[in-house]
C-alpha cells in the first residue's frame, strides 16, 4: 500500500565516473559561478587532492580564487565563519567542497554566510530558515558514507555551547555532486568499512521507516545491494575502482533515501554512544544495525523482508529463514566478516562502552529525535536487552 502522502525533491545534479574530476568542463559551464573557493582539510592536502582538484577546475575554465583547508574532523562554527570570511575576501561566487561529511557540511554553512551574511547560529540554525537559493556549491565526496553531497542537512558543532547544531533546508542541497571513485582510493580499510556500514544503516533504516515512499524505498534497496556486493572488495583492495565507485554511488543513493524517509533507533543508539562515549558514528551504526533491526523486527518484519532480495552472504541454512531474518543475518554476517578482517568492531565493549553505561545509552536513545521516526516505539526497558546483546 502506498503512503497517503510523500514528497520527493532531489535537485542536486549527480555525475559519476572514475577520473571525472579531470573533466568537469561540461558540468561547470552550466553553472553561472566562475570564481570558486575550494574547501577541504589538511589530511587531504597531505595526499595532494586539493591541488589536483584545483588544477582540474582551472583546466575546466573556472577560477579557484582561494582555498580553506582548515576544516576540523567534526566541523565547528568557528571553522564555518573562517571559511566564509575567506570566501568573501577572495570574491568567491561559489564553493567547491572536497572531502567527507565534515568538509561538505562546513561548505554548506559557509555558503549561507557567503550568500546571506549574518550570524550562523542565531539567524540560520534550524529547519527552513532560508528564503532563497544560495551561491552554487559543488560537492566532491572523498568518503562513501554520509551522503551529505546529496542531502539538505548539515551538522556543525557550536563550540560555545558544546552542542551539535543542525541546519536543514532545501537551499542547502548542493548544485552538483561529483562522484569520482579515484578520489576515494586512499581511504583506509577501517574507514572504508565503517563509512560504508554507515551508508548501509541509512539505507536499511530508511527502508523500514514509517516515512518511506516508493522513491526512497527504491534508492535504499539499490544502495543496500551495491554495498553488499562491493564492500568487502573495496576493503580488500582499496584501488578497486569498480567497488569504490559502487560504494560512492550507494552512499549517495542512501543519502537521498534517508533525507526523505528519516532514520530510527539504530541512529538513536549510535547518537547516544557517540555522545556518551565518543564512539565514531559509522562504527557505532555498524555495531548497532542488526540489534536495532531485531528490536524493530516484530513491527516491520514484513517490510524488512522486502530487502531480502538485495542482501547476500548467507549460509544455506540461513537461506531457509524468514525474509526479515535473512536480512538481519546477512547484515550480521557482513559485519562479522569485516570484523574477521580486522577492520570493524562488532561489539560495544570493543569501542569503549562500559556495560554499566548501557542503561544510560537506552535512556538517551529514547530522548534522541530519531526515536520519533522509529517504526516501533522506543522504550528504554525494551531496547536495553538489545543493547546488552550488542555489548
Amino acid at each position: 500500500m502506498l503512503p497517503l502522502f510523500f514528497e520527493f525533491h532531489s535537485p542536486t545534479k549527480v555525475v559519476y565516473g572514475p577520473g571525472l574530476i579531470a573533466d568537469l568542463q561540461a558540468e561547470l559551464s552550466q553553472i553561472e559561478a566562475r570564481r570558486y573557493l575550494l574547501v577541504s582539510d589538511r589530511t587531504l592536502e597531505r595526499l595532494g587532492l586539493p591541488a589536483r582538484v584545483a588544477a582540474s577546475l582551472e583546466d575546466a575554465g573556472v577560477e579557484v580564487v582561494g582555498s580553506f583547508l582548515d576544516v576540523p574532523e567534526n566541523s565547528e562554527v568557528s571553522a564555518v565563519r573562517a571559511c566564509a570570511e575567506e570566501a568573501v575576501a577572495a570574491g568567491a561566487e561559489g564553493l567547491v567542497a572536497l572531502g567527507g561529511g565534515s568538509v561538505i557540511d562546513t561548505a554548506k554553512c559557509a555558503d549561507i554566510l557567503l550568500s546571506e551574511g549574518g550570524y550562523l547560529v542565531d539567524d540560520y540554525s534550524g529547519a527552513g530558515t532560508l528564503t532563497r537559493p544560495l551561491k552554487p556549491l559543488i560537492a566532491i565526496p572523498t568518503t562513501a558514507g554520509t551522503g551529505s553531497e546529496v542531502t539538505q542537512a548539515a551538522v556543525i558543532l557550536d563550540e560555545a555551547g558544546s552542542v551539535k547544531l543542525s541546519f536543514s533546508d532545501k537551499f542547502l542541497l548542493p548544485t552538483l555532486a561529483v562522484l569520482d571513485p579515484e578520489l576515494t582510493v586512499s581511504l583506509p580499510p577501517r574507514l572504508t568499512a565503517s563509512t560504508a556500514m554507515d551508508a548501509l544503516s541509512h539505507a536499511v533504516e530508511s527502508y523500514v521507516s514509517p516515512q518511506w515512499s516508493p522513491m526512497s524505498e527504491a534508492l535504499a534497496a539499490g544502495a543496500a545491494r551495491l554495498i553488499f556486493v562491493n564492500l568487502e572488495a573495496a576493503v580488500a583492495d582499496g584501488s578497486d575502482l569498480e567497488a569504490r565507485g559502487a560504494l560512492l554511488t550507494a552512499a549517495a543513493m542512501a543519502g537521498i533515501a534517508f533525507s526523505h524517509a528519516m532514520v530510527g533507533c539504530v541512529h538513536g543508539m549510535a547518537h547516544a554512544v557517540g555522545g556518551l562515549y565518543h564512539v565514531a558514528h559509522g562504527a557505532a551504526n555498524a555495531i548497532l544495525l542488526p540489534h536495532g533491526l531485531a528490536y524493530n523486527r516484530e513491527v516491520v518484519g514484513e517490510r524488512l523482508g522486502g530487502l531480502a532480495p538485495f542482501v547476500s552472504g548467507l549460509t544455506s541454512d540461513e537461506e531457509q529463514l524468514d525474509p526479515a531474518d535473512r536480512v538481519i543475518a546477512a547484515i550480521r554476517n557482513l559485519a562479522g566478516r569485516l570484523n574477521g578482517a580486522g577492520v570493524l568492531a562488532t561489539r560495544l565493549r570493543d569501542v569503549g562502552v562500559p556495560k554499566e553505561g548501557l542503561a544510560a545509552v537506552a535512556e538517551a536513545t529514547v530522548r534522541d529525535g530519531t526515536s520519533f521516526y522509529n517504526p516501533r516505539e522506543v522504550v528504554a526497558e525494551e531496547i536495553l536487552p538489545h543493547l546488552r546483546n550488542a555489548y
Partner: protein, 137 residues
C-alpha cells in the same frame, strides 16, 4: 484565509490547551526536563505563545515577544491546529516549509514523544471548552 478569523479566539483556544497540557504530569515532567523556551509565532491570525520550561513550573505566556527563546517555531494557525490533532508530520512540514524552526531542531524532536499523548487530549479539550466546531474528524 484560514479557518480562524479571530485572533482572540485562537489565542484563548490554543493558549488554554497549552495551559491544560502543563498539568498533565507525564507531559509536564518531560517539558521541564527539556529546559527549553519555545516561542510559537502563528500567522493568519497573528498570535504569539511562549512555552517556558526553564523554571520549576511550565509557564505559558501570551504575546511574549521579548524573552530570548531557545527555539522559535513559525506556522499558520491552521497548521498548528492540525498538528495538535496528530495530522501534521513535523519533519514533513519542515521540509515543505509549512513550518519553520529556528534553533536546535533535535531538541524539538526530543519533545515529540513527550507530547504524543496531547494528540488525544486536544479534541476532548476542544469539545469541553466550547470549541467543538473546530474538531477535525
Amino acid at each position: 484565509m484560514g479557518s480562524f478569523t479571530s485572533r482572540e479566539e485562537f489565542e484563548t483556544m490554543l493558549g488554554g490547551f497549552f495551559d491544560h497540557l502543563t498539568v498533565v504530569p507525564s507531559i509536564e515532567e518531560k517539558l521541564l526536563a527539556s529546559k527549553l523556551i519555545i516561542r510559537f509565532k502563528y500567522t493568519d491570525p497573528d498570535v504569539v505563545l511562549v512555552v517556558d520550561c526553564s523554571g520549576d513550573t511550565v509557564e505559558i505566556r501570551r504575546g511574549d515577544a521579548e524573552t530570548k527563546a531557545t527555539v522559535e517555531m513559525f506556522m499558520t494557525a491552521d497548521v498548528a491546529h492540525r498538528f495538535w490533532f496528530g495530522k501534521v508530520n513535523l519533519m514533513m512540514a519542515l521540509t515543505r516549509k509549512q513550518m519553520v524552526a529556528k534553533g536546535p531542531v533535535p531538541k524539538i524532536l526530543e519533545l515529540l514523544p513527550a507530547i504524543k499523548p496531547a494528540y488525544e487530549l486536544y479534541p476532548t479539550y476542544l469539545r469541553e471548552n466550547g470549541y467543538a466546531r473546530h474538531v477535525i474528524d
